[in-house]
């Protein structure tokens, strides 16, 4: 199985979830994160003192899928999260060796 980790803009979450649903992928886990990259945070003045809000709010979406549908899932995320502007985010893929559904004890593909 593959773990697809996508860092996206917060207001694209709904689109990404819908795009994945269309591919019949309906399990995912979402985390609020802050990102640092090319998209720079804005400079702000607080009571006259300048500072940089360095980190930009992002959403991390984690999806574990069977190997066979990983590329479909990646494509779905890319197309739904894309707004053509800096900071649209990244996708990272790694391997999951083993999965368990806690409720039933089912494992691997059955567990997803």
């Amino acid at each position: 199985m593959k773990l697809i980790t996508a860092i996206i803009k917060p207001h694209r979450l709904e689109e990404v979830r819908d795009a994945l649903s269309i591919e019949n992928i309906s399990g995912l886990t979402v985390t609020e994160v802050k990102g640092y990259g090319r998209q720079k945070g804005h400079a702000e003045l607080y009571r006259g003192a300048e500072y940089v809000v360095a980190f930009v709010p992002k959403i991390k979406v984690e999806i574990v899928v069977e190997d066979s549908i990983a590329s479909k899932a990646i494509d779905a995320v890319v197309s739904s999260a894309n707004t053509n502007s800096i900071g649209d985010g990244k996708i990272f893929v790694s391997t999951i060796e083993h999965a368990v559904r806690i409720r039933t004890g089912e494992i691997n593909d059955q567990a997803l």
């Binding site: 003045l45 009571r47 006259g48 003192a49």
Partner: protein, 427 residues
């Protein structure tokens, strides 16, 4: 029949004092919310604890000795229930005698208990100013120790010289009339005094970790909860009607009732002017509508008008407020440049603008002179600053005033109170 009229006048004036006093008491909530909103989450429980505890201590210490030092009100207030009379009937007749002597239009005759109630909440106000400036890094118990000294001695002493009508260390007089010094409701006596004590504390305490960079950069530490800070400002705005309005001291005839109304009107106008002054100044300097500056601007307008809210026209009151709103923005930026770390801007709002408030009194009140105002300000500042410096210094030497670096990183809430303000939200 005349007696009944005096009775009604007494009742009205007493009630007026009580209502105004309750509004000033309410300012304690305002300071608490303002400060809780402008510090970081991790110091919020501690600042709340300081605020409610300082209010309680101020009430007790002023009752025990402060009121006696300031107004010869009697230690422990033992006799206040009957204003010193031996029975309820005697109280009535002595009040009526006093009223007859004063005359219907004369000085105010009202319950001593209401007077104490009104005065005691002023002490707490002065002390509330301190808590904001030393927030997030001072030891709680050291702060409370200072509170005891401030509310039982330091404030009552300077209060006795001004409103109390006693000579300054038996040397010279500062009260209105004799001296050309005038401070209607306490721009100097309450607000600048509080700021002087705060400044002394901040100088001995140093800035919060991480507030100033090694190369002199100022690193902002945003307040954690702006709705609370805004609520606090509105509470203070409302409470200030009692603060200034009650300082007319009498309501019960046409002249005085009209004066009270003018004071309400001008107090409101100055606060409004302060918001606009600060809003526009911040817009010009920083390019944004800075809410925290609007809040400080409102308070600056209020502090500025406090030294004389009865004589300016409403337009002038607005303009005074606006000037105060402008001054406070510059003052806050300047103090940060001087590395005087004041998380809530208390020294600028109450100190710098308190002084400004004193200095504009002669513009509308012939009884006051610039020289006397400046001299009065100097006396108050010098006394409170030096006495506070000594007190803070002693406390520092004996038990310390600053929490450890590790405690400061973790937040004063955990080290001082063992309790987080919002335990469920992730930080």
């Amino acid at each position: 029949m005349e007696a009944q009229i005096f009775q009604l006048q007494y009742a009205i004036d007493t009630f007026y004092f009580l209502v105004c006093g309750a509004l000033v008491m309410w300012m304690a909530a305002g300071f608490s919310m303002l400060e809780a909103g402008l510090v970081r989450t991790k110091s919020t429980t501690e600042i709340l604890t300081k605020n409610i505890a300082l209010f309680a201590i101020a009430c007790v210490m002023y009752l025990l000795v402060g009121y006696d030092i300031m107004y010869d009100g009697g230690m422990l207030l033992a006799d206040i229930a009957l204003d010193g009379a031996s029975s309820a009937d005697e109280l009535v007749s002595s009040v009526l005698a006093e009223s007859s002597e004063a005359g219907f239009d004369g000085g105010s005759v009202y319950s001593n208990a209401s007077d104490f109630f009104f005065q005691v909440v002023f002490v707490a106000t002065a002390m509330s100013i301190v808590s904001g400036a030393v927030a997030e890094r001072m030891k709680l118990w050291s702060f409370l120790l200072f509170t005891v000294v401030m509310t039982s001695v330091i404030y009552p002493m300077e209060g006795s010289w001004t409103w109390g009508g006693k000579d300054v260390f038996g040397m010279f007089a500062l009260q209105v009339g004799d001296t050309g010094f005038s401070d209607f409701a306490g721009s100097g006596i309450v607000h600048m005094a509080g700021a002087a004590a705060a400044l002394a504390g901040v100088l001995l305490l140093g800035a919060r970790k991480g507030k100033y960079g090694p190369n002199g950069q100022v690193k902002p530490i945003p307040g954690a909860n702006l709705p609370l800070a805004t609520l606090g400002t509105f509470i203070l705005w409302m409470g200030w009607f009692g603060f200034n309005g009650g300082s007319v001291l009498k309501l019960g005839d046409i002249s005085n009732a009209n004066a009270v109304a003018m004071v309400f009107l001008n107090t409101n106008a100055a606060a409004a002017g302060g918001v606009i002054g600060a809003l526009l100044t911040a817009r010009l300097l920083f390019g944004k509508a800075d809410l925290t500056m609007c809040l400080n601007g409102a308070l600056a307008g209020l502090v500025a008008i406090t030294a004389e809210p009865s004589t300016p026209t409403p337009l002038l009151a607005t303009l005074f407020g606006a000037a105060a709103g402008i001054i406070v923005v510059y003052s806050i930026v300047l103090l940060d440049k001087l590395r005087i770390d004041d998380p809530v801007g208390a020294i600028s709002v109450h100190g710098v603008v308190g002084f400004f408030g004193l200095m504009i009194v002669p513009l509308t009140n012939d009884g006051a002179s610039f020289a006397a105002q400046a001299f009065g300000a100097l006396v108050i500042f010098a006394w409170v600053f030096i006495a506070s410096l000594v007190t803070w210094g002693l406390i520092k030497a004996i038990v310390g005033i600053r929490i450890s670096d590790e405690e400061e990183y973790e937040g004063a809430d955990v080290s001082e109170c063992g309790m987080e303000a919002y335990p469920e939200f992730t930080r």
